[in-house]
């Protein structure tokens, strides 16, 4: 199988659109995912979960389960208390019960852990555990959680007398915003919710823990997105020496942020291995995944936008963030709302202000997962939905209003009103490219004709600017760990290279793209570069893959490491060519003598010399390696223009996404095929979020979307054939000019789709906003003038 193609002009980085190196195993069914691993003597764990959203635990009776012939242990909170592991810290400096002791705080919360000889027996035994609950009133609505008579959820926390999870936090300038809004020609105000949804990777979460009682070595097999960070957390929680813990991720069946947090089931598997002395495997089922692991969004937003002289001048928003029962929001910034204050979008505003408060509710904990750089998704949805409604009410074209209001290319680096420094962009160029691909004017003509006939066609525009690649130490950390990423590169004497990285692919193809980065920097064919990841014993420290940070941080680290190897190669080449390093010039794959390009040493020859017997220049040690720990000087700010065309069935209110045009500018593209793949996947997830994916609860706190029968994910039939385009505005501070891209499409697509549906329905039905998901029933209700937020 050919694995490389020649570099094409469109792609400057290491062989461009080369096919993926990792495909070979996956297309043969030879991927190695967590549940594929079987260790000798391995036991199986299962978690008993609460049927109630809020209840006191009166008693737990485990004797019948223990009497099951294949059950070895049943672990409850009491057992964990003796080990000091009943509670664990969350990434957001809150605490979370590993197993509930005093009471349960959401439906699906972990109550007991059964260890048995096989998977079926462990699950059978769950039904033999008797738990007596005393149900308490539950609260699942963020606003109601703030009312004075709301039940107190976190009575475990000293001094906690209400359901506020964090105090009011503000960004921007409220007084300035007051003034700009007062002077505006038009103000649009909109209450909107970004409902709770779920990343639902196709592979659920799980772990195999293998504690060696003799040596104290703890081996963990666990598909997570940040193995090094997880190892540090386990060391801190369990009081084990970090170097005695090894985490091996192997292949991961999708993550999308769902595999960032540390879950109680993981801790239970570790405890299970410690108490049994055998490996313990725990793999959750689909309902457990949907009902208990890291959800996304759940932001209640009250937004306002204003314009003057046809330009957007101000945006402000008040947010209630629903964190569920524990604040385990997986976000690293020092800001309580993550990166939400990028809600200023792509516009050169005169004022902006936000306030955010967070609440506890009787719902599963989590937040920010699902292809989202720490609340950027909510921010972009807010501003693009506000701009969409503003355009409808101003009766101007949404694309024109945006272009009138954009930050202009010459304004970069651009300091926005909430303290971010946007790196680069040419927004109008990107917007116009999307309009060109869409045939925008023709679409508007078609829409006008259809309106005449009573047909409901909508054209939705969204333009986003993301902030990704967390992040500079001064602003962010995870439990005190700085967000740098390491890269170790060794060029062997045969000219092959091994790059070890701390980023963790879940399908992003790091084995291919990172090889391409090194190939670009050293001129070694990517076929000859092996990329190692997913094993804490074989990779450098770093914080992993989420928030579109692999390329911005780890990719930069790889490039810097390769450049360091190249610098050393220059010194060795100078010795080989009997000249001084200053007299050498580089072209891909070789150092040559300036003015005499025939006289050169190739990277292969230099690598051989680095380990060879001939003397090296004085003071130079052998070997050809490069190392880097990259602390990014700034985040990267990819942008994109999305145009969505929908048809709404006037009789049934069904929405069909007929066309979707996505033009992304993520700076320099290493492998455009893989970049496009990331975008298309995100667009499908955006269609899901906009039209069908939602996690809802009834008044008692029962989760109503706990299986794939009710948590609907788009199939091939709901997705159009995506129409992609690109503009390239390099990132000025990234070594190869790249920005992150993995999450752009889930950011830009939901507002584009909602804008399109509102565009279809505003003139005929007066619909200016519908909260997602835009399923037929909700769209129909809006057409009757009865749009309601999802519950």
């Amino acid at each position: 199988m050919a694995t490389t193609t020649a570099a094409s002009p469109e792609t400057p980085i290491g062989y461009g659109r080369m096919k993926r190196k990792e495909d070979a195993r996956f297309i043969r069914g030879q991927g190695k995912y967590l549940d594929d691993i079987v260790l000798p003597g391995m036991l199986h764990g299962a978690v008993l979960r609460s049927p109630y959203a809020h209840a006191k635990i009166v008693s737990i009776e485990t004797s019948a389960a223990l009497a099951h012939p294949k059950v070895l242990r049943v672990i409850t909170a009491k057992d964990l208390e003796t080990l000091g592991l009943a509670w664990m810290p969350t990434i957001s400096y809150d605490s979370q019960a590993v197993l509930a002791g005093d009471k349960v705080r959401f439906q699906g919360q972990e109550v007991a852990f059964v260890i048995a000889e096989d998977r079926y027996s462990a699950r059978d035994a769950l039904e033999l555990i008797e738990v007596e609950y005393e149900p308490l009133p539950a609260v699942v609505n963020a606003r109601k959680a703030l009312e004075a008579d709301a039940p107190l959820i976190r009575d475990d926390k000293d001094g906690q007398t209400d359901n506020l999870a964090s105090p009011l936090w503000e960004a921007g300038d409220a007084e300035e915003a007051d003034q700009v809004f007062a002077e505006a020609d038009i103000v649009v105000e909109r209450e909107m919710i970004y409902p709770r949804c779920h990343p639902a990777p196709l592979e659920t979460c799980g772990m195999i823990a293998d504690m060696n009682p003799e040596t104290g070595q703890l081996d963990l097999y666990n598909g997570n997105q940040a193995p090094n960070a997880h190892r540090t957390v386990y060391a801190q929680v369990a009081g084990l020496p970090e170097h005695m813990i090894r985490i091996m991720t192997n292949d991961i069946g999708g993550g999308f942020g769902n595999k960032v947090p540390v879950y109680p089931g993981y801790v239970c598997a570790i405890v299970g291995s410690i108490v049994t002395g055998k490996p313990v495997k725990w793999v959750e089922d689909r309902s457990e995944n949907l009902m208990s692991t890291g959800f996304a969004r759940d932001y209640v937003m009250h937004g306002r936008i204003c314009a003057k002289h046809g330009r957007i001048t101000g945006v402000r928003v008040d947010v209630i963030a629903d964190h569920g029962a524990f604040d385990s929001t997986a976000q690293p910034s020092k800001f309580p709302a993550g990166f939400f204050h990028i809600f200023t979008g792509s516009y050169d505003l005169e004022a902006a202000h936000c306030s955010v408060k967070a609440v506890y509710t009787n719902k599963a904990p989590g937040g920010v997962a699902y292809r989202c750089s720490f609340r950027v998704t909510e921010a972009i949805y807010l501003v693009e939905r506000l701009v969409g409604e503003l355009a409808l009410k101003m009766e101007v074209d949404g694309a024109e209003l945006r272009m009138n209001s954009f930050i202009r290319p010459e304004q970069f680096p651009y300091e926005n009103k909430t303290g971010w420094t946007y790196d680069s962009g040419d927004y109008e160029k990107t917007m116009r490219e999307a309009m060109r691909i869409a045939g925008y004017d023709e679409l508007r003509r078609e829409q006008a004709e259809k309106r005449e006939r009573g047909e409901l066609m909508g054209i939705g525009v969204a333009f986003f600017t993301e902030v990704v690649g967390a992040g500079p130490r001064r602003h962010m950390d995870i439990l005190g760990l700085g967000m740098a990423d390491g890269a170790d590169l060794r060029v062997h004497d045969d000219g092959r290279a091994v790059l070890s990285i701390s980023a963790q692919t879940q399908g992003q193809a790091h084995e291919t793209t990172f090889a391409q980065i090194v190939a670009e920097e050293l001129g070694i064919s990517p076929d000859k570069i092996e990329v190692r990841h997913g094993d804490t014993d074989r990779t450098p420290f770093g914080l992993g893959t989420y928030g579109s940070r692999s390329t911005p941080v780890s990719g930069a680290s790889a490039a810097v490491a390769a450049r360091r190897a190249r610098d050393k190669a220059r010194l060795i080449a100078a010795g080989m060519l009997e000249t001084s390093p200053e007299d050498l010039a580089w072209e891909k794959g070789r150092w040559y003598v300036k003015g005499d390009p025939e006289k050169a040493a190739t990277i292969d020859e230099i690598a051989a010399a680095a380990y060879g017997e001939a003397p090296l220049p004085e003071g130079l040690e052998g070997g050809l390696e490069g190392q880097s720990v990259y602390d990014p000087p700034n985040l990267t700010y990819p942008c994109g223009a999305y145009i969505c065309v929908v048809d709404v069935d006037p009789g049934t209110a069904e929405v069909e996404v007929r066309r979707f045009i996505a033009v992304d500018d993520c700076g320099v593209r290493i492998n455009p095929m893989i970049v496009d793949g990331q975008i298309m996947g995100g667009l499908a997830e955006g269609v899901g979020i906009a039209l069908m994916e939602v996690i809802t609860f009834d008044e008692q706190g029962n989760c109503l979307n706990g299986s794939m029968m009710d948590y609907l994910i788009p199939t091939a039939l709901e997705c159009p054939d995506w129409e992609l385009g690109a503009t390239v505005t390099p990132c000025p501070h990234h070594p190869i000019g790249a920005k992150g891209v993995g999450e752009s499409a889930t950011n830009g697509s939901p507002p584009a789709i909602v804008n399109a549906v509102c565009d279809a329905l505003y003139r005929s039905h007066g619909v200016a906003h519908i909260d997602m998901p835009l399923n037929p029933a909700r769209v129909w209700a809006a057409m009757q003038g009865r749009a309601e937020p999802p519950q």
Binding site: R28, G31, V38, L202, R286, I674, G681, L717
Partner: protein, 159 residues
């Protein structure tokens, strides 16, 4: 109870609990872990194998029900190390990312092409509509199946 199932041409006999699902039989006994499990409710398609030539969801078939039937999994698709055109198409057209849905998608697509060697885009989308991919957004999967169809047409498929 004891069951014998022909998997990829080999009879596999095992003493099982009656409730054992075919997906677990395939994964546990011969250790063919290319067939995945993803949802419990026959919505996701990660577990699709061919049973007597038809794609079925092996999480919704009891192992006991497969007694005496012929099961074909992803592991049997390439012959003597030569990839099936569908496998090759997924590589050529970037039809996979995390790879978890890939075996089910490929087995479904293989059955489609066996029945309909020249499917339209709509027919491909319909055929794979019982399988969820979270990574690719489906377009490249459709292209991968078309790639296979075109290359099979150019080079008749070996039996």
């Amino acid at each position: 109870m004891e069951v014998t199932i022909n998997i990829n041409g080999e009879p596999v006999t095992r003493e099982i609990e009656p409730a054992l699902l075919l997906v677990h039989f395939i994964r546990d006994t011969p250790g063919l872990t290319g067939t995945h499990w993803g949802c419990d409710t026959s919505n996701c398609g990660a577990c699709v194998v061919q049973m007597d030539g038809l794609p079925v969801k092996s999480c919704t078939v009891l192992a006991a029900m497969a007694e005496g039937h012929e099961i074909r999994t992803i592991e049997a698709l390439s012959i003597d190390g030569v990839l099936d055109p569908v496998q090759q198409g997924f590589h050529e057209e970037h039809g996979l990312q995390c790879g978890f849905c890939t075996p089910g998608m490929i087995m479904t697509a293989r059955a489609l092409l066996d029945a309909n060697p020249d499917p339209t885009e709509d027919e491909i989308r319909t055929a794979i509509s019982g399988a969820i991919c979270r990574c690719t957004g489906y377009s490249n999967i459709v292209r991968a199946v078309r790639w296979a169809a075109e290359h099979e047409a150019a080079q008749p498929r070996r039996s």
